[in-house]
């Protein structure tokens, strides 16, 4: 009404307000996506050349050299080893903390502490804990049980294979399991992510109305029934969210692998981000971007699948 003049003058205003964010997103998020596609198809190394390389980069990663599959294997072991464990432990701890016992604010603070800590600095400490020499803490603990020292983050042999060796068995290929080096990184990551899961679960738990539990108790429900019939279903949105976020994040792990294992056991801890980084460092921009595109497609696909499969089981 009275703002007719104001409205006309202000027609460009919204776009102006959006401009800073939009320009930045276009330049550093959207354009790179297309540029990556482009580079993956036209660059072997260095600056883009004009000759069409076509699918050569993808061929190298998927077929000839197969580095993508190796890196995928590492990523899959890593995700399988960290996400479920952190979720289960996080759920357990959150449930215990939720009982409103005294001093729990402090406990929650400490559980969350690793999550805000620099992964570079923390990984240095964990490297020291897993030091391959006998003075390393992990080896010291092992020696208390009469086991010999292990190479920990130097060790490229799969953990299942290490166990099987004790029995004189040789496990083929992927059955050998994630390398001990990778397991060290996994333990670090669980320690790091636990607090996040705990805090999110706590929030989810506090959203469940007390009356539901009280009504169930009146009906004579025991602890197990309360857990499976009330807690978990009502926690399913939280769980759903955590599974998706944790999976995405795990596929993107870089810092701890770089700090903890990069030099020594590189082949067995080279997950997809490390593959991209290493190719980039070596100057193979084409391979790096192709790997990145594959990672993008993989994560997009995985997220969609997770949303479809898990989304159906979420109760609101």
């Amino acid at each position: 009404m009275g703002d007719g003049v104001r409205m006309r003058r202000a027609r460009w205003q919204p776009y102006l307000y959006l401009a800073p964010a939009a320009i930045l997103l276009l330049t550093f998020s959207i354009y790179p996506l297309f540029h990556a596609f482009n580079m993956s198809l036209f660059t072997k190394w260095g600056k883009p050349t004009q000759r069409v390389v076509g699918m050569a980069n993808y061929e190298e990663l998927l077929v000839t050299g197969g580095q993508f599959w190796d890196a995928l294997g590492v990523s899959v072991w890593y995700v399988a080893g960290t996400v479920p464990v952190a979720l289960v432990l996080g759920f357990l701890v959150a449930n215990l903390l939720f009982q409103k016992l005294r001093g729990l604010g402090l406990y929650r603070t400490i559980y969350f502490l690793p999550y805000v800590t620099s992964t570079v600095a923390a990984a240095m400490v964990w490297r020291w804990i897993f030091a391959p020499e006998s003075r390393g803490l992990a080896n010291t603990v092992f020696s208390w049980f009469g086991r010999e020292t292990l190479h920990w983050y130097y060790e490229p042999t799969g953990v299942f294979q290490l166990v099987a060796e004790g029995l004189g068995v040789e496990l083929p290929g992927w059955a050998a399991g994630p390398s001990l080096a990778l397991v060290c990184v996994m333990l670090f990551s669980i320690w790091h992510a636990l607090g996040f899961d705990v805090v999110i679960f706590l929030a989810g738990l506090s959203a469940i109305p007390r009356e539901m539990y009280e009504a169930a108790e009146v009906d004579g429900a025991n602890t197990r029934q309360k857990l499976w019939r009330i807690t978990l279903p009502l926690l399913s949105p939280t769980l759903f969210f955590l599974i998706i976020i944790s999976t995405i994040r795990s596929f993107q792990t870089f810092n701890q692998i770089y700090v903890m294992t990069r030099q020594e056991s590189i082949a067995t801890t080279q997950n997809l981000p490390m593959l991209i980084f290493n190719n980039f460092q070596d100057g193979y921009y084409g391979l790096a971007t192709a790997a990145a595109v594959l990672l993008f497609v993989l994560m997009l696909g995985l997220t969609v699948v997770q949303m479809k499969v898990l989304g159906r089981r979420v109760h609101y």
């Binding site: 997103l25 550093f28 998020s29 502490l113 969210f241 990145a292 993008f296």
Partner: protein, 282 residues
């Protein structure tokens, strides 16, 4: 049948065990940082230093200079990290307030489509953008500069989303009253809407600052000289000191960790809300 008391005692026990395990690496880092090399090299390992070797800390601070031939020091690294994190946070706040406000209080053609497009960019993982962004930085001549460290991170869709949600909860009456009084969008945004969004702004500040402070891969890629090096990269370069100077390395790690921990302990609830706030709004 377990009594209440037994159950609580068991809970306390398990939780305390967990807390000790979680806190242990920090203790171990501090302990090692204050030991002598002999104590650290001993088997079985020394748990508590006989007398704290405080000099490891100044040594660690200055050890950055030994790790590379150029003039480097943690003083420079901290200065850089502080500047970059501060600039990124200010940038994110600015761009997010503007964009969030536009989405919440203005009407314009294509609003819905543009918003969905913004959200869609959240699906683009940072690895895909890594090499292209590096090339963009290179093409702009920004390699090894503050611009490279700061600019790519000054827009954050998640923050825009949070602020938009928050602004949408401001009652229309405020807005309409302001309009009648002839208040411009700009003034309304800064003088009324923004102060009301203080909790959201606090959360954004914390997780943006923290994210920038802890960032490693991007700074590793786009900087090379000590003049522009950030704390995380500086620390990673000390890894070679591991065999010779483990105690100073642990002291260096502690130096990197302590400022954040102190801030965290002071602002506990804000931190936890801010960093984990992603999950709370469902």
């Amino acid at each position: 049948m377990k009594t209440r008391g037994t159950q609580r005692a068991a809970s306390y026990l398990i939780l305390t065990l967990g807390v000790l395990l979680v806190a242990f690496p920090f203790f171990w880092m501090l302990s090692t940082s204050l030991q002598t090399p002999e104590e650290t090299g001993a088997t079985p390992p020394t748990f508590l230093p006989a007398s704290p070797q405080w000099q490891n800390y100044p040594a660690a601070w200055g050890s950055a200079a030994d790790a590379s031939s150029e003039r480097a020091s943690f003083t420079i690294y901290f200065r850089n990290s502080l500047f970059v994190a501060g600039a990124v946070t200010a940038g994110v706040l600015f761009t997010s307030i503007l964009a969030g406000y536009a989405f919440a209080f203005m009407n314009f053609a294509g609003k819905r489509l543009i918003f969905l497009l913004f959200l869609a960019t959240m699906m683009i993982p940072f690895e895909v953008a890594l090499v292209p962004n590096y090339m963009t930085i290179d093409a702009l001549g920004w390699y090894d500069s503050f611009a490279a460290l700061i600019v790519p991170w000054t827009a954050n869709v998640f923050s825009i989303f949070i602020l938009r949600q928050f602004f949408l909860t401001i009652p229309r009456d405020y807005f309409e009253a302001a309009q009648i009084d002839g208040c411009s969008h700009w003034r309304f945004m800064w003088q009324i809407a923004t102060p009301m969004a203080a909790p959201a702004l606090a959360a954004i500040t914390i997780f943006t600052f923290l994210g920038s402070w802890n960032a490693f891969l991007w700074p590793l890629l786009v900087t090379s000289s000590p003049r522009r090096r950030v704390v995380q990269v500086g620390l990673s370069l000390l890894r070679s000191e591991e065999s010779t100077n483990l105690n100073t390395l642990m002291a260096a790690s502690a130096i990197v960790i302590i400022p954040v921990v102190v801030l965290y302990l002071l602002l506990q609830r804000r931190f936890i809300e801010g960093v984990a706030g992603t999950g709370l709004k469902g």
